[in-house]
């Protein structure tokens, strides 16, 4: 099956200053440093990582807030960037919901103005915009009179529903969800998540779900990719990711999650105790970027950055501990 959205060795480097002004040697932050990932139709792929791992940069680059430094982003096989710009047709298909609806919605606009803009730009063929807006509000379970309210009159959960409605107004096929519930209380999170899952079923949407909350990821995604300092460490089907995590970083992250029942406690890999801090992305360690914190580090880890390889169908790891790749060409899905 052809993926709906695919990242091919995507890189996004930022120049944040110069080391030597005369010679202009740039200091760069490698926010995203060569990731490959595919999202299939109707699928939710989770992208997890700690702050500074580059997960949001992936989303922002996808919607054109940044131009990629190298690599490609493809929507149904065609490049999202054509001559450095994104055609309007592709802008419509890929929408985004940001983390904090308090700052992603214009406080001086009413909900009606917020929803009308994407309709006017991306779907000029709609004759009765008011009716369409009413339909969209109904989809996100908000009453019709909310059209005339300003974001500040709404609760955090309701504002996030408006942000989802704005994304839906363009009638997209892919939505990038950048920590859509981390600004919300857990009692509200459930409502927003269930709504997103229902919309996905109804409209056959594909989600790239970005979060740092692994427990949440366990319950919403079909596949999970984990990022560390701009690179993906491991990609696996959700079940395998949580039950047989392979990368030491995945294991460390899982063992650090506070959980609320004995049943969950048993799922945590006990062996790895989190140590060390995330290195600065300006100064990424040579070799495998995780080797300074890794309890299993070997000599090779400080020198050679491991390659991503398949260790089971659909399960990819970038770690020197797993030299035995899955070799048979018919062994299953071989692209991440």
């Amino acid at each position: 099956m052809e993926p709906i959205l695919e990242y091919k060795d995507l890189k996004k480097h930022f120049v944040i200053g110069y080391q030597d002004l005369r010679r202009r040697r740039p200091i760069t932050v490698k926010a995203v440093d060569g990731i490959s990932l595919a999202i299939h139709e109707g699928e939710t792929v989770g992208l997890v990582g700690e702050s500074g791992s580059g997960k949001s940069t992936v989303a922002y680059t996808t919607v054109g807030m940044y131009a990629p430094t190298a690599g490609r982003i493809e929507y149904r096989g065609q490049s999202v960037f054509q001559d450095g710009r994104r055609p309007k047709r592709l802008q419509k298909e890929i929408q985004i919901v940001f983390q904090d609806p308090g700052s992603s919605l214009n406080p001086r606009h009413t909900v009606k103005q917020i929803l009308e803009l994407p309709l006017r730009i991306h779907r000029p063929e709609v004759d009765n915009r008011l009716e369409e807006m009413a339909r969209i509000l109904e989809m996100v379970e908000l009453p019709l009179d909310y059209l005339y309210k300003h974001p500040r009159a709404l609760s955090g959960g309701e504002r996030q529903m408006v942000a989802v409605a704005r994304a839906l107004a363009a009638d997209p096929s892919v939505i990038l969800l950048d920590e859509p519930t981390s600004a919300l209380d857990v009692s509200v999170q459930g409502k927003v998540i269930n709504l997103l899952l229902r919309l996905q079923r109804e409209f056959d949407l594909s989600y790239l779900f970005i979060t740092h909350d692994l427990s949440l990821m366990r319950n919403v995604s079909q596949r999970v990719a984990i990022m560390y300092l701009g690179k993906i460490c491991e990609i696996a089907p959700t079940r395998a990711f949580f039950e047989t995590p392979r990368h030491p970083y995945t294991q460390m992250l899982l063992s650090a999650i506070p959980v609320i029942s004995e049943e969950e406690e048993k799922l945590k890999p006990e062996k790895i105790v989190p140590t060390g801090e995330i290195p600065s992305p300006v100064n990424i360690p040579p070799g495998c970027s995780f080797h300074l914190r890794c309890p299993y580090r070997m000599d090779v880890c400080a020198q050679v950055d491991p390659e991503m390889q398949a260790i089971a169908p659909g399960h990819f790891v970038r770690c020197h501990l797993y030299p035995e790749a899955l070799d048979s060409p018919n062994g299953g899905d071989h692209t991440p």
């Binding site: 209380d185 857990v186 427990s215 949440l216 999650i257 959980v259 609320i260 969950e264 801090e277």
Partner: protein, 338 residues
């Protein structure tokens, strides 16, 4: 436990804030008790009054608009609410210290770590320590929170440290005065999960060693489960349930606690519960009776009229809910234990 005098005892605390259009009745009779060496968790959603309660304990509420309408706070038997500023200085620091959620906001950006930590140590030594002794104590305090190269760190400004290091500095500052009670307000929330885990483990070891009492304020049930002996659950300005930590997680009694546990995503999967319908009440005009009744699936006529008293389910497990009155016990047991 019952015979011991509590270190901190809050009784029936009522607090309101004057606001445009009336008074926000934020705390509606909070009861809370901490014994020496006990680690207590205080959980609840944003806006339920957790931080207001702790600010009342430290007497750092802005008065006005805040006003204590009733109740008492006793620390080591002394009445905190009626205390003079001078007596209060003794309680703050040596008696009670606090760690805040955001270590970046808690540290002053224009002073070095050494100056800030030194000021705390000096203020509690009544001027008996020489400069060299203050410096030595500061180095020791930083060493205890496992920060490398403490001597050099004293010269650093907060901006030069990572988030995890800043929170360690805040912990060092809070513990430098050897307080009897430490209030930790969401101490790991601003940190990444692998850093949070390290900071919380460090905090746990330090307070265990010194037998410091702790109030851990958090909206994360997982963190509270890991670090406390006893949990108080707060909803809209009152304590709705309190129990030993293990007991609470195994047998949550209050409908609110039960819902709260249902909505936490589980590492073991099983989907996401739909959330708790409704929202935290408007404090200008809070619901009468039990403040949870508009959101409660078991609400009865009496819940609308009267505030439920605390019923004891078993030794040390109290639930403020009419379902636990004898006339309704059957209904309570059929309430979906999560």
């Amino acid at each position: 436990m019952a015979a011991q005098t509590p270190l901190l005892e809050i009784q029936d605390l009522e607090l309101e804030y004057k606001a445009y259009g009336g008074a926000l009745k934020v705390l509606d009779g909070v009861d809370l008790r901490i014994h020496p060496g006990e680690k207590v968790g205080l959980v609840g959603e944003t806006g339920c009054g957790k931080t207001s309660t702790m600010k009342a304990v430290l007497r750092v509420l802005p008065v006005p608009p805040a006003r204590i309408r009733g109740g008492s706070i006793r620390f080591n038997g002394q009445d905190v609410l009626g205390m003079s500023q001078r007596a209060l200085r003794q309680v703050r620091g040596r008696g009670i210290a606090m760690i805040f959620q955001d270590p970046t906001a808690a540290l002053n950006p224009v002073f070095t770590i050494g100056e800030q930590l030194g000021a705390v140590i000096r203020s509690q030594s009544d001027g008996r320590l020489s400069r060299r002794q203050v410096r030595a104590a500061a180095v020791e305090a930083l060493r205890e929170v496992a920060l490398a190269d403490p001597a050099r760190l004293l010269e650093a400004y907060p901006i030069q440290l990572s988030g995890g290091m800043r929170q360690r500095v805040c912990i060092a500052m809070a513990l430098a005065t050897k307080p009897e009670l430490l209030i930790a307000d969401e101490p790991g929330t601003a940190l990444d999960v692998t850093i949070q885990d390290q900071v919380l483990r460090l905090l746990h070891n330090l307070v265990e060693e010194r037998n410091t009492s702790v109030i851990l304020i958090s909206h994360s049930l997982g963190i509270v489960r890991q670090l406390t002996d006893r949990v108080y659950v707060m909803y809209a300005g009152s304590i709705v349930e309190s129990a030993p930590t293990r007991r609470l997680f195994a047998h949550p009694g209050h409908p609110y606690t039960q819902r709260l546990m249902e909505v936490v995503p589980r590492l073991s999967g099983g989907g996401i519960a739909p959330g708790i319908p409704g929202r935290i009440p408007n404090y200008l005009d809070p619901p009468t009776g039990c403040r949870f009744h508009p959101r409660c699936p078991h609400a009865m006529a009496i819940c609308r009229r009267y505030k439920p008293p605390a019923y004891t389910l078993e030794e040390g497990h109290q639930v403020a809910c009419f379902l636990y009155d004898e006339t309704h016990r059957d209904q309570a047991s059929t309430a979906p234990a999560q």
